[in-house]
Amino acid sequence: MSTIAERAWLPYLHARPTAQVIRFAPPPDAVSAETSMAAREPNLFPLHEQLNRIGLLQRNWDGYGSARPDQTAIESTRQLIEGAYRSIAPLIGWQNPHASASEDGEIVLEWSHGIKRLTIYVGPHQSTYVKSWGPHLVNEMEDGPLPDDWVVSLWAWLFVG
């Protein structure tokens, strides 16, 4: 093929409409379903299943006016639990929490061991905890924002300390 023949199709190409590739940038805090599914630990499948069910709840799901569970909070919960599982399970074992939802749409994770209870509220922007070793709201409970080292300070308190 001559050089002229090679270039003869170029004007034709420019005249035709061409497809444009548009790249959608996900929000910084978004986690794709594929990513989170690929990273799931088999032992956490029941918990993920429960989170899937919670994700389907609609507003006023309990008849007390509770908000629809927040989808971002559900993804954050998956990440939180996967990270905790990887750091704890090889060392001291693991117990799946029970998952539910609060009236504000936060995801609630609850563990209990004897008289001790640990509850983590995962919201779209921040997570908090309540730990209790009795029913008295002042003398036997503590709460606050979830610390970065919660696996050591809270989960270990529940099962080890």
Binding site: V108, T128, V130, L137
Partner: protein, 196 residues
């Protein structure tokens, strides 16, 4: 309806007009309806024993609703809306005994203190309605989360009064009339004795 039943109904109505029915006594039982959703998002069964989640006491106004047992003629089924609903019975005194709630700021400093109480709050269609509330009203999420934790502990001790799945018995005309009369008397009290 025989005449004795009719007299009994009016005695009941007159009695609630005259007694101090607005105050919830410590010995009173309170029914909390626990719904089933998302594969039991409010409770689970562990070795045959029910264990409640905090979500069993969800409330957007941060004052969980309960029904006074004596205003439901001690029939917990009357608090149920659906067959899937379970009922847990708590004692008012035990709820008050959960203690004051300390509300703190982000630095952990005490901002305020709330006392836990059960207050009668009759609403249209449910004259047995009461609220587990804090005085002054809770504005902090963490304080309410503590309250829910305490209520969960009480509920776990109590267990089911009515398990979910049991058919809701059909209500007799007498029961419906009795509750309607109570609601009427309550309305009358509010009009005649507004400061009680």
């Amino acid at each position: 309806m025989d005449p004795f039943q009719t007299i009994g109904l009016f005695r009941c109505g007159l009695g609630s007009l005259l007694d101090d029915a607005d105050h919830v006594d410590d010995e009173e039982e309170l029914y909390r309806r626990v719904p089933e959703a998302a594969g039991s998002a409010c409770y689970y069964i562990d070795h045959g024993k029910v264990v409640f989640f905090s979500s069993a006491f969800n409330d957007v106004s941060q004052s969980p609703s309960v029904d006074r047992a004596n205003k439901r003629q001690f029939d917990p089924h009357r608090t149920r809306l659906r067959q899937q609903d379970g009922i847990v019975a708590l004692e008012a005194g035990a709820i008050r005994g959960l203690g004051p709630i300390i509300q703190r700021d982000q630095r952990g400093r005490q901002v305020s203190q709330h006392s836990v109480d059960v207050v009668y709050d009759p609403i249209f269609g449910n004259c047995a309605h009461a609220l587990v509330s804090a005085e002054p009203t809770i504005t902090s999420g963490s304080a309410f989360k503590r309250l829910k934790d305490g209520l969960v502990r009480l509920a776990n001790q109590a267990g089911w009064r009515v398990e979910p799945g049991i058919p809701v018995p059909p209500r007799k005309a007498r029961e419906i009339l009795q509750e309607a009369l109570q609601c009427f008397v309550q309305r009358l009290r509010e009009i005649l004795l507004p400061n009680r």
